[in-house]
Amino acid sequence: MASLESDSELICASLGEPDCFALVFDRHFSSVFKFVAASVRRDHVGDISSEVFVRAFEQRNRFNLAYQSARPWLLGIASNLIADHYRKLAREDRAYRRASARAAGSRDFENGASERVDAEMLLPLLQKALHALRPEDVSIVVLFAVDQMSYREIAFALGIPQGTVRSRLSRARVRLRNFIEASGELRLDETNE
């Protein structure tokens, strides 16, 4: 087992000997964790990151062994889970709004809502900016800007054409710029030096 070099060899070996997959975890957990942490609130990061590896293990027979590194594949799974997470938040938000309409004046409800708002306010500006993007664009932006992956790697990780990666990044760049400038907390024509 120790002589296995690439992720694809490890994943192939894990089909017969599942424990081999633990080495894939050792190699990539930190990277996946940081990717997830860039996209969602801290209290959800652990759950989503660990779920990535459970899903990857269960779906490892679908890994394209032509690729040496499992990182883009793992980040693709993470990306899907993050999008699911955002959809869940959106559903909860809609449920809160419906409940708000039904239970106007309910003290418990108001407290819950204000906690949610407070939590959002505590987010750093740029994470709030990420939240302003479309759910499907968040992962692309983080993969490109934070993980510095190429268009090709992002396209592979997310299973979308490179042209789509380019156009979504272009759309996200405009949204990010508008959000950051509208916030007034940061000017994009300043430098850090």
């Binding site: 975890f25 964790f33 759910p135």
Partner: protein
Amino acid sequence: MNSGRDPFDVLREQIQTPEPTPEDVATARGRLQQAIAAERRSARPWRDWRVLAGVTAAVALVVAVPLATTSRAQAALTEIAQASREAAPLEVPLGSFVATTSERSDLAIRPGEDFELDQEFVAYLLPTTRQVWRQPEEQFVMIRTTVGTPSFFDPLHEQAYYSAELDKADRIGKTVVDQFTDVADPILEVEWPRDPDQLLSAMNEFIGGTADSETTPSDLFTLAANLLRETNPPPELRGSILEVLAGLPLDLDQDGDTSIKVSVLDDGRRLTMELSVHGDLLSESTTLLEADPTLGIPVGTLISESTYQMARVVDELPIHSEEAS
């Protein structure tokens, strides 16, 4: 437009990406170990070939005939799903169009009075050649349709059709061009999951409105065909669509070297889909399994048939100014 710093550079510098704590690593590793242990537990009995042989024989005795063709369809679709995942995605650069061409023949039904005939309805088959250019980012679609010569189930209907000049109403022999922008296609609005189980759940939800609604295999078959036809799915999604199909009680009608045909029954009709070995939708058809005396359609009639050419990417639209409607 501000000519200052790229917001992505700002993001890279300022976003917080904490390292996992030892507790984070231990928790995640524990969950993975549980999954590994669960697989070991579930796999162990099957490693004993005697148990496997015994169970297989018992299952075969009970359900040999009904499952025979279904399992062949499942095997063929699973194999194609795997191949489709390894296929290169169709890349659509910004500003380009996905162009598709299909030959179709669909059932057309008109009131009998249109034909000046004393019957409630008259049915006939209307062939069309349909070319579609779709620009996904701009939600732009251009459709060029050329209508061919219809065929009839009764010579009297054919005679009445031309006497009543219905060929002009149907624009027989003409080409019509339509352009649409901001097309809101509900199928394209959904971010379809790449995981087969999640995809099945999303498809059920899309058809039935809720995750718990009852959907029929033919409902799922039809939606799968729509997804393959309309969404230019990336390899992973295409593979999952095929896996969903593999889970349905389908018949394998043809198992060739370059394509397969699978079908499902739907309320007196048989819906058939032909797929390439890479999971591309090559053709679809609907066959009537019972005669329709009201419309005069005999049993076994192919009431709808479409064949598709492979999608391609083009940089520009063709010029059709004289044809555009």
